[in-house]
């Protein structure tokens, strides 16, 4: 019975007994068990990734009023495996003049930057890779490695499109990292900890209710960080063909592609952890760890679905508009939100829970509303300036 309550510990103890029985010292055995656990987790993630290929293709087809893969197996379920086999037996070309070492490392780093994120994802109260007390910053650190992999891939391909695509992508990624860092501060302030496990434990009220604006900014910044539409200007098919991964083929391209899908799913998971209570849902997580895993995967999938919805509905934004949107609107808004959240948190802590909740929620709405009003009046003035100029020109 205890296995169903705490499967990780039971399995680890069982393995520890076996390994020490072979005469292995305890720390070495612990590390070996950790290695096996990580290997199993990441293998499951890779299988999940294959599933995501099918989900993505099926969902995009539905959004575009098509059927999507439907030939191989029921509902085209075998399609992603066929894709994998195709990637496996495809010739792996390297462009002439490419920087071979950097060129080959880049796709691996790209995949790795996604996989290491799962070290801080708590799947259930007792199932967590590592409980780091800087968990939230770890997300950004992993993102930094992803940024690096893009610039490496773009530079080493010896292709103008790839380099320009990489530059654009990196400019967007680093720009939107600032609002993302800023919104990560909000769960940190509310929970009083940077650890992802602690943030979930202290989330008796979903933080999306305390900070709806923060959740929204985080989602926007996450989509930009992922480089998906409407922020996928590196891919700009009409100008750059495919951006930084244009010269990659076969499995190396597959790594970039699979990494992007898993990254989107992972950020859905982080959205759930930071703002939607992670594995917690109506006390289900107390019943069984397996239910908790189901809850967090379901929430992550909802986030992923939302990201897909945005991707296949909106148009691509031009780079100057995107950067202006970030630096002139999102970043000041995010910093205002931190100031307001910190002030309200300090002023309202100690007051009844309903007052705290109402104060937080209303202040967020107020900030969002006034930001929209300022933006609206600014754009009206800009429009009038342009219209006035036109009127003068016509008058001449």
């Amino acid at each position: 019975m205890s296995f169903w309550n705490d499967p990780l510990k039971v399995a680890a103890d069982w393995l520890l007994g076996i390994f020490t029985g072979w005469g292995m010292p305890v720390p070495a055995a612990n590390i070996l068990i950790g290695f096996l656990g990580v290997l199993i987790l990441i293998s499951i993630l890779m299988v999940l990734d294959i599933g995501l290929v099918w989900v993505e293709r099926k969902v995009v087809a539905r959004f575009q009023d098509r059927i999507g893969p439907n030939r191989l197996g029921p509902f085209g379920l075998i399609q992603p495996f066929a894709d994998i086999i195709k990637l496996m037996i495809k010739e792996d070309t390297t462009p002439g003049g490419a920087d071979k070492v950097v060129y080959n490392i880049a796709p691996m780093l790209s995949m790795m930057s996604v996989l290491i994120l799962w070290a801080v994802v708590p799947l259930a109260p007792t199932i967590l890779g590592v409980d780091l007390n800087i968990g939230v910053l770890y997300i950004i650190a992993a993102g930094a490695i992803g940024t690096l992999s893009i610039i490496m891939g773009g530079w080493s391909s010896n292709n103008k499109y790839a380099l320009i695509g990489a530059f654009r992508q990196v400019a967007v990624m680093i720009s939107f990292e600032i609002p993302m860092l800023a919104t990560l501060l909000i769960p940190t302030i509310l929970a009083g900890s940077m650890g992802t496990a602690a943030i979930i434990e202290r989330q008796d009220v979903w933080y999306v209710l305390l900070s709806p604006l923060g959740a929204l900014i985080f989602l926007v910044a996450a989509i930009a960080e992922l480089g998906r539409a409407p922020f996928d200007l590196a891919e700009g098919e009409s100008e750059l063909v495919s951006g930084y991964n244009i010269e990659y083929s076969g499995m190396k391209f597959g790594m970039f592609y699979a990494g992007e899908l898993l990254h989107a799913f992972t950020f859905g998971g982080f959205w759930a952890i930071l703002f939607f209570g992670g594995y917690r849902f109506l006390g289900l997580e107390q019943v069984s760890p397996f239910l908790a895993i189901a809850v967090i995967l379901f929430k992550a999938f909802i986030g992923y679905w939302l990201i897909m919805w945005v991707r296949y509905t909106l148009l691509r934004i031009r780079i100057d508009h995107m950067l202006a949107f970030n630096w002139k609107f999102l970043t000041p808004l995010a910093f205002t939100l931190i100031i307001v959240t910190a002030l309200m948190h300090a002023l309202l802590s100690g007051t009844p829970a309903w007052l705290y909740l109402a104060g937080m929620f209303l202040s967020n709405i107020l900030v969002a509303w006034s930001a929209l009003e300022i933006a609206r009046s600014y754009s009206r003035r800009e429009r009038e300036k342009v219209d006035g100029k036109k009127a003068v020109e016509v008058g001449h």
Partner: protein, 117 residues
């Protein structure tokens, strides 16, 4: 034990799995390179010069602004962790910190450095 050992394991496995996938593909796939196949793909047009074209200085400006904001925002994290226990005084210090930061943003904005053109 140091918790980073397990983070290290994630890095290790995170490298091994893509390496394995690419390695299997390398073993299975055909290897018949030829000069045409290895030309740079630029929509069928012959490549002129190398890929090192002149870039807009604007990329550098955004990276510069990003660097400063990145460092400053990262500094706010220890403050945010301890915020609940420290009270209003610490909150005001943090707000001053953010306002100094925003002053830098306002300066860059007014100088017209955030324009792409």
């Amino acid at each position: 034990m140091n918790p980073w050992v397990f983070v290290g394991l994630f890095f290790l496995v995170g490298l091994i799995i893509p390496l394995g996938a690419i390695g299997v593909a390398w073993i299975l796939g055909p290897k018949k390179p030829n000069p045409i196949k290895q030309t740079t793909y630029e929509c069928g047009i012959e490549t002129v010069g190398d890929s090192w074209v002149q870039f807009k200085a604007q990329y550098y400006i955004f990276a510069l602004v990003f660097l400063i904001f990145d460092v400053e925002t990262v500094f706010l994290f220890p403050w945010a962790v301890k915020l609940g226990a420290l009270g209003l005084f610490a909150v005001i210090e943090g707000i001053i910190f953010i306002l100094i930061l925003v002053a830098g943003l306002v300066y860059t904005w007014r100088k017209g450095m955030l324009e792409w053109a």
